[in-house]
């Protein structure tokens, strides 16, 4: 129960950081070799050598963050905001060292200018146990609507 609670708190915190646009704090949740991955196709088993919507290590995540913060990131000028809800948190596997594999569901509403979009799907986190917290080794995001045409694009992590 304690692990379940800790893991849930971790996922909620991650979602909150996204919605609060605290990009650096968000990136800090990843382990040094952590990867954020949104596969182009739910059948894909690895990001390596595959087309992917996102496949980013911390360095690429930093590019994305710095780009978003640049005053001339034109697409970032108009008002936009997101709201994430994370739920259905299930711990699939717990290692002897405290590492866990977790799956959960999310729903994200995005407002951009006057338009609302919805993205929903599942998260799979491989979390590495640290002294009193977790760090993300791998986050896989399968959006239910990943295959649909994108009306405009995605700017930051889902």
């Amino acid at each position: 129960m304690k692990t379940q609670h800790q893991v849930e708190q971790f996922l909620y915190r991650q979602a909150e950081l996204l919605d609060a646009k605290q990009w650096q704090e968000y990136i800090d949740l990843f382990a040094a070799d952590g990867v954020y991955w949104v596969p182009a196709d739910p059948a894909h088993k690895t990001w390596e050598g595959m087309p992917a919507i996102f496949a980013e290590d911390k360095n690429l995540m930093t590019v994305r963050m710095q780009r978003v913060l640049h005053p001339d990131a034109w697409s970032q000028r108009p008002m936009w905001a997101t709201n994430h809800v994370v739920s259905n948190v299930v711990i699939e596997k717990t290692g002897a060292n405290g590492d866990v594999h977790v799956r959960s569901r999310f729903h994200m509403l995005e407002l951009r200018r006057d338009d609302v979009r919805h993205f929903a799907g599942s998260y799979r986190h491989h979390l590495k146990k640290t002294k009193d917290d977790y760090r993300i080794k791998l986050q896989r995001v399968d959006m239910t609507n990943a295959q649909a045409a994108y009306d405009y694009v995605l700017q930051v992590w889902v």
Binding site: P51, I53, Q66, R67, P71, S75, Y150, Y152, V153
Partner: protein, 441 residues
């Protein structure tokens, strides 16, 4: 009827400027679909997309929903995605395999892969003595008037008359030659994934952007700078940063002045080439290993020729933008006067070592995925462009940069030295547009 609502098109295009209605008037859009997209050669897909008999892919040509399908005889067919009985759509999925034949989901008429009627349930009892049956071509699925392919890239034209594909492509076929020649086996193969992104703007705004050397250092500064920063940090830490950082940082590193050093070549039918590429032939071990394979396949001299081709973008009017050196392309499907779908594909060089595929894949993911670090800011500008043109704030879109300095030798319009940022490609596209639009039906 439609034509009556469209004012005199000749007044819409001047050599150095274009009326705004060309981008925002729905009546002009309809006419464009009729006179350009549904008449000339439109890219359907690559042969390797449909390797097995029965494999099909849907594709929009102008306003027409079409199917590209592989027949049992391995021939490729392009058909209207419509049942001749009562008009039902034949394939409701974007792609798949139709099996031995098409079978309509409404009343089970079946058709061969070439569209010919195969069977009608209870045909004898129901249709004997009527004009409907196998002898009536109206009972078969309608086929695209013409289908041709070049080096595996399949095009269709919905008009019986007009130039053949090769004549139409002219010099722009270098897009496919450059891409395929870079493969040691001389062929490419589709990477089975299509990124589909909708732009909220007129299709021509996208085409005009493809060779717009004026915009990258303005629009893509944010990503270029960010990549440059991280690239130099990685270099300090490990001595070498992955080439993908360079592909992004080049957007900031290449200044407007440097873009001016490139050249544009502008051809009949509206096709254009922008030369110049950002460091695709570095001296890293991956490139050297690839060059070894290439030299074995082609010999030193031919390899040097192939790898020396210096192309940034080829625009094949009216709907294909190719980055041959990176083996990717964007096909343009106009959805409406202010909505445009781009279908973005990547190809693998047959016979090339894996790292070369990975390198262009990185570009495909970072620049062309729906989470693009680059196109996001283009699309934002396209939308704003369309918004501005929909207003009465001005009547004209101007293409005046380096106007009057183009070198026209009859078959190609070249920009002179240090005029890479010339708006010659836009002038060329609109000149072709006016010709297409005024051509007799």
């Amino acid at each position: 009827m439609l034509q009556e609502r469209v004012p005199d098109l000749a007044k819409f295009v001047e050599p150095d400027r274009v009326r705004r209605e060309v981008y925002v008037d729905p009546a002009i859009f309809e006419l464009e679909m009729q006179r350009i997209h549904e008449r000339y050669w439109i890219y359907c897909g690559h042969e390797t997309q449909v390797p097995r008999p029965g494999d099909y892919y849907t594709v929009q040509i102008g306003r027409q929903p079409m199917l590209m399908v592989r027949g049992k005889d391995r021939k490729l067919h392009v058909l209207y995605n419509r049942c001749p009985h009562r008009g039902n759509m034949m394939c409701g999925d974007r792609h798949g395999n139709t099996g031995e034949f098409f079978r309509c989901s409404y009343h089970a008429w079946t058709f061969r892969h070439d569209g010919a009627l195969r069977s009608i349930p209870m045909m004898e009892s129901g249709y004997a003595g009527t004009r409907f049956g196998k002898d009536n071509p109206d009972c078969s699925m309608k086929r695209a008037a013409r289908v041709e392919s070049y080096r595996g890239f399949v095009f269709a034209s919905l008009a019986t008359n007009g130039p053949g594909l090769l004549e139409f492509l002219g010099e722009s076929r270098i897009a496919f030659d450059d891409m395929c020649d870079r493969a040691p086996e001389g062929e490419v193969e589709i990477v089975p994934n299509c990124f589909r992104v909708i732009q909220r703007s007129n299709w021509k705004i996208f085409l005009e952007n493809q060779l717009d050397a004026l915009h990258p250092s303005v629009v893509h500064q944010s990503t270029g700078r960010a990549a440059m920063d991280v690239e130099s940090r990685i270099k300090k830490q490990t001595g070498q940063a992955p080439l993908s950082y360079h592909m992004l940082s080049a957007f900031a590193a290449v200044t407007i002045e440097k873009w001016d050093g490139f050249q544009t070549l502008n051809y009949p039918y509206g096709h254009c080439i922008l030369t110049g590429y950002m460091g695709l032939r570095p001296k890293d071990p991956d490139t050297l290993a690839y060059e070894k394979v290439m030299q074995k396949a082609y010999g030193k001299k031919r390899m040097e020729e192939i790898l020396g081709v210096n192309i940034h973008h080829v625009l094949i009017y009216p709907g294909l933008s190719v980055q041959s050196a990176l083996q990717q392309l964007r096909a343009v499907r106009p959805l409406g006067v202010d909505r445009t779908l781009t279908e973005i594909w990547h190809f693998r060089l047959k016979g090339a070592p894996e790292p070369i595929y990975r390198r262009s894949l990185a570009y495909y993911n970072l620049v062309n995925s729906p989470a693009t670090l680059i196109n996001a800011d283009d699309l934002e500008n396209f939308w704003k462009c369309h918004q501005g043109l929909a207003s009465d704030g001005g009547d004209w879109v101007t293409f005046g940069r380096h106007f009057g300095r183009d070198l026209d030798n009859g078959s190609v319009v070249e920009t002179g030295p240090n005029m890479g940022t010339s708006e010659a490609p836009m002038r060329n596209q609109m000149k072709a547009w006016a010709k297409y639009m005024q051509a007799a039906a």
